[in-house]
């Protein structure tokens, strides 16, 4: 019944992915890598890459994770349970749209959550960096990718694909 555990995990992770798709990364890493050991940190990084090069939301990376662990049914369940929380919460919230949007509690709590997300992502970046930046060329690719994304308007998809080509040439 490991697969039910996986679906439940995907469901509540997406329920708490508040403040943008990247928030999912610390939550996923905690459960999928550290807790259940379904993926290694390296495979987790590959799943982020796949989520990022595919058109559509980053959260689609759950499909890869599901496929990797449980095959086709894992993938299908992952997509269903990734978006079920959204469907439930958004349809309910849309009935109370004005109250919801103008609520000071919602605004103030987001003011707390957004900076926390930065801290959480920084912690994730460090553990992932330890797994994937192993020598000089990988360090160069990471800093180069960072610089391109910060200082130019190149899309992340192309940076990831470019890094793949660089990896093929360097190793």
């Amino acid at each position: 019944m490991e697969i039910l555990k996986f679906f439940w995990t995907i469901f509540y992770i997406n329920l708490f992915t508040i403040g943008g798709g990247y928030v999912m990364l610390p939550l996923l890493q905690r459960e999928v890598v550290d807790h259940y050991h379904w993926l290694s940190n390296k495979e987790f990084i590959d799943s982020i890459a796949i989520g990022q090069v595919t058109p559509g939301p980053l959260t689609i990376m759950n499909v890869f994770i599901g496929y990797k662990i449980f095959g086709f049914w894992g993938a299908l369940g992952a997509v269903f349970f990734s978006y079920l929380p959204s469907i439930i919460v958004v349809t309910i919230a849309s009935h109370y749209y004005l109250k919801f949007k103008n609520s000071w509690i919602v605004k103030a709590s987001f003011k707390g959550i957004r900076p926390a997300v930065i801290g959480l992502l920084a912690a994730v970046a460090i553990t992932l960096g330890r797994a994937s930046i192993v020598d000089f060329p990988t360090g160069l690719i990471a800093t180069g990718g960072f610089a391109i994304l910060v200082f130019t308007k190149v899309e992340p998809t192309f940076v990831i694909l470019g890094a793949g080509v660089a990896g093929a040439l360097l190793y």
Partner: protein, 158 residues
């Protein structure tokens, strides 16, 4: 992607007004999950209730689902090949650079006063050093926000 949405839905099909479209974006950001999907669900629900919501999710997710499925299949089949290993090594490093760039751009926008900086550092230490549960941390950060920023929003301030 949002610009594309707007052109199709507001300008061409006239299903929504510009104000309604802006509302949908706010809604997408304030609800859990991928903001772009939630914006779509909000629009779909408004146009055609639950059927509309389900249809937008299916429409948004199905193409990526198929692509990810194909990539996953290829990944598992060819993972041990040296060339793919090299490609993944490069990509793995870039993913870290990508996350760093997200942190950088979010910090520039959000870390403007000491309270936010304090929350960010606190969250970093709680996860990075003390290994606390990030879901709990998000909940705590939300509650902390309610207390810390109460004065700024409570009395009808925007």
């Amino acid at each position: 992607m949002l610009a594309f949405f707007e052109r199709e839905l507001v300008t061409k099909k006239k299903w929504l007004t510009h104000e309604e479209f802006a509302e949908s974006i706010v809604m997408g950001q304030l609800t859990p999950g991928a903001p772009i999907v939630n914006t779509g669900i909000f629009i779909g629900y408004r146009l055609n209730r639950l059927r509309g919501a389900l249809a937008t999710v299916a429409g948004q997710v199905l193409p990526s689902f198929v692509i990810v499925l194909i990539l996953s299949f290829l990944y598992i089949k060819y993972k041990e090949i040296a060339l793919l290993k090299a490609v993944l090594k490069g990509i793995g490093a870039a993913v870290v650079g990508l996350i760093a760039s997200v942190i950088y751009s979010m910090s520039g926008k959000l870390l403007k006063e000491y309270k936010s900086i304090l929350i960010a550092i606190g969250a970093f230490l709680c996860l990075g050093v003390f290994k606390l549960n990030p879901i709990g941390l998000i909940v705590v950060a939300g509650i902390a926000g309610v207390f810390m920023f109460r004065g700024e929003h409570r009395n009808g301030n925007p």
